[in-house]
Symmetry: C2
Subunit: 149 residues, 2 copies
DNA sequence: CATAAACCTTCCAGCCACTGGAATGTCAAG
DNA sequence: CTTGACATTCCAGTGGCTGGAAGGTTTATG
């Protein structure tokens, strides 16, 4: 075959895996501890050894984490794949519920931002008061009761 | 005095304080544990007893929590007040840095939302693939590499 | 008087996703 | 031979609670 390539099967240590993926070695061990990664092969000196498949799995985990998927959710996706079940339907549902969640959070934070901004503006020029009756500390209470809490 | 009122000094149990403030009793005990509330007076039966001043302090804590202040930050504010130092200058700084933080988070979440939305749209109509090469799981990887991670 | 219920107490453990640090082992270079 | 850079395990801490066990107290009811 003209297009064949010589592929050498190389295994590497945890530090190399960490460099390749940007995931701290501590975190990789942690992922193994909780079963997200299966127990790594070990060298004679008991050092963990990894290959490109491990790197790919870890990269997937990292990407999904960046999209704010929980380790549990990622574990479910990977477990489905490990059982040779296509996980995509489940993943689509997850994505949808994450979108909902993110939008909810954005709303909350925007409310929070405007409350903080109002508070800051109201607090400017107010006197300092140890008893929190005519200072921004008092306003914190007011901004809260306006919300009805 | 015509306008005088009869004020009866009543103390109440933790459940009542919880009802008044909406803060769970567990949380109140926790706040005492970490020193955010000073150790409560005890009844003969060792039950905690509270008065309106405690309720006010707890309401302040609750309001500040609702504005996303950490317990540490709240502890600082209250400690300053307990030392009879007006805490407002410090609080204004805190508010400003919280506004910055909230705006940063909103930005992050909006980026995340658009990534998730893109992903969802790209994933619609794609086949299921156990090996994650032509399904949304694969797209997770792609959306990540586009970010440069 | 017994019992149930609704309170309260302490203490320990768990959540999430790591992270820090101690104490120790292994290996290559100078 | 020592130094430095790797690796290992294990324990503990982060924040802000929350759940649950195992028990004590108080009040109401049969």
């Amino acid at each position: 075959m003209l297009n064949s390539k010589i592929e050498v099967y190389v295994m590497f240590q945890i530090g190399e895996l960490s460099d390749q993926t940007g995931v701290p070695a501590k975190t990789i061990r942690y992922y193994e501890d909780i079963g997200l990664l299966s127990p790594a092969k070990r060298d004679d000196n008991r050092y963990r050894l990894y290959d490109q498949k491990d790197a790919e799995r870890l990269r997937f985990i990292k990407s999904a984490r960046a999209l704010n998927f929980s380790l549990q959710e990622i574990a479910q996706i990977l477990a489905a794949r490990d059982r040779h079940e296509p996980p995509c339907g489940h993943v689509m549902d997850l994505i949808q519920s994450h979108i909902d969640e993110v939008e909810r959070r954005i709303q909350e934070l925007e409310t929070l931002r405007s409350e903080l901004t109002n508070l800051y503006e109201a607090g400017q020029g107010l006197p300092e008061d140890v008893h929190m009756r005519s200072c921004v500390c008092h306003l914190i209470r007011i901004s809260d009761s306006k919300r009805g809490n």
